[in-house]
Symmetry: C2
Subunit: 343 residues, 2 copies
DNA sequence: TTGAAAGCGCTAACAT
DNA sequence: ATGTTAGCGCTTTCAA
């Protein structure tokens, strides 16, 4: 900019005015400056500008895994709203690792993003307190944060799981298996709660060996599927190994608690002759084209992302009301797999 | 930082040294400074730091649509490599719009990203020349750029389409329909070229009415599917309307040129009694679980992203060799839908 | 080992 | 309508 001013033989501020389309510059002067700008290929350095003005016109998004369709739909929602506000989006993935989440969030803060949308991987967010104290707006997405008072946007996980489980019960299944990811993850815990509530509401007992939680790789989920369907021992070595080692009653239906689990379960079931009823949490792209079609409890991840971003910008607009927790409804989509009667 | 220095009663530079873990500070002093830092909740402002040092330790990624599974896999690849290099990733979507791409790329440049990975939406990238001249590294991804000499990482689109089409031909289909997205998009054009080459290599004629390009919404693709299968007029009002209005021979197989087209075509086919053979470009998550399984020409989007990012960091490491074009192979995955014989 | 001064590229506030 | 000065928060340079 200094170069432009020198080359055009004008003051620095005049160039600044032209670049920022401020009024108070004669057309002739503006034209001359613009000519020099083009000639020199000058582009304003926004980092410097933003350092000076204080705002950064950018928000950060910490996802669990940008490659997961659910995450990318979230991020589409956040991006759309950020864009409406003329804000750039800085994104990173935590790979479901608490340290990485922290590191990433702090890196974004060091860049002085105006606000942060976080899909929590860790269970403690106290590390954001100093940032929040110095003006950072924070919204948690998909899962609530801990150790800091902040807005959260979630799906009605328990309600959705309740509806999905009740749907299976209504189709005659008294024994239903639950397969989820890691039990300490909020969404998994809530969906399990919904499952238990639906069972209890129907007066059905729950055998703890019907509940499988763990990694979502196809091998692990495949083992869980086969165990639940045959009633074998759980192999987890739970608090009561002798009970766990006894065979459980086989289930006739499965509730799979997220998209990756559902996918892995479908793969495991593909080889089997008789298929249990299945309801999955999260919709899948080809769900309607399977046979039978896949019955799911669908979230609206893009709406989740948009809602979180709106909340964030409300806060940036100095909305100082107490932290809110917004819960978005889920929707049961009936397509066939959940209506199979017990074998 | 100034505040910390004042509160600790030390010089500014000492605080800077402690924050950056530079050597040359006595342990006692360092401890005192760190105590004040914690007390005040001080966090270094990286924007200011980077303004001073010149580098920004960040790279930009301009995608077509972050919500598309293909894009998000690309971005996972880019992010992984950026992370290895301690770089933050700034991402945005162009929504397949040239102006938006430009606007986004320039916004990232104004933030002084060190490098830019661009999935081109527009056909002209001259606007990046001034940036490149002042040191920006640029790599195009998925499609080549135009108007600027830069690296590009692509899939072997023509080769993949050739293999897919040849596969259908080998299974006895002389008449094969091609459904793609917009014909000016490089990937579509290349895949169409591959299709034509395979047909010619087999000595088969191509009726232009077997080729449908346009938007990828389910309605448009559905119409194309039905037209190709029944041999109705093309309705495009092409250069030879009278010929176009004559009925064409119905095709017995379809080659769908990207994931969205494949998805839409599958939806359209779901309602139909007799199904044509189908090979799609791009793999889909549930492809193996459909019946018949979906035969595809698979790309490796994560590898595309990683390769592009590696090339970018090579350039940032002052690799000044002439621009390269890297082409990654595709893989035909046989699952059933492409092996259906002609009706 | 420590610190003062200069300056990265820009804009806000105040001249002219 | 245009220019000058100071300073955003940090690092670099050089001096003590």
């Amino acid at each position: 900019m200094k170069d432009v001013a020198a080359a055009a033989g004008v003051g620095l501020k005049t160039v600044s005015r032209v670049v920022n389309k401020e009024s108070g510059v004669s057309p002739a002067m503006a034209a001359r400056v613009r000519a020099v700008i083009d000639e020199l290929g000058f582009r304003r350095n926004d980092s410097a500008r933003l350092l000076r003005t204080g705002s950064t016109a950018s928000v950060g998004l910490v996802l669990e895994d940008i490659g997961d369709p659910f995450s990318s739909a979230l991020s589409r929602g956040v991006e759309a709203v950020a864009r409406e506000h003329g804000c750039l989006l800085l994104t990173g993935s935590s790979a479901e690792d608490a340290d990485r989440e922290r590191e990433l969030a702090l890196a974004l803060c060091a860049r002085r993003v105006d606000g942060l949308v976080v899909v929590p991987a860790g269970g403690d967010h106290e590390y954001l307190l100093p940032e929040a104290a110095s003006g950072l707006a924070v919204v948690f997405l998909d899962r609530p944060g801990a150790g800091i008072e902040a807005d959260a946007v979630l799906s009605d996980n328990a309600g959705g799981a309740r509806a999905g489980t009740a749907h299976l019960i209504a189709h005659g299944h008294p024994r239903i298996g639950f397969i989820g990811d890691l039990p300490h993850i909020h969404t998994c815990a809530e969906r399990l709660r919904g499952y238990r509530e639906a069972m209890r509401a129907a007066g059905l007992p729950v055998d703890e060996r019907w509940i499988a939680t763990g990694p979502t790789d196809p091998a692990t989920v495949g083992r869980a599927v086969r165990r639940l369907l045959t009633g074998g021992p759980d192999g987890n070595g739970g608090p009561d190994p002798t009970a766990a080692e006894r065979a459980a009653e086989p289930v006739t239906a499965l509730f799979t608690a997220n998209n990756r689990v559902t996918l892995a379960a479908l793969q495991a079931l593909a080889g089997l002759p008789a298929r249990p009823a299945l309801v999955g949490f999260d919709d899948l792209e080809l769900a309607a084209l399977l046979s039978p079609g896949l019955t799911v409890v669908a979230q609206d991840p893009e709406a989740l992302g948009r809602t979180a971003a709106r909340l964030l910008f409300d806060r940036l607009g100095h909305d100082t009301s107490p932290p809110r927790r917004v819960e978005l409804p889920t929707r049961l989509i009936v397509r066939g797999s959940g209506e199979v009667p017990p074998a």
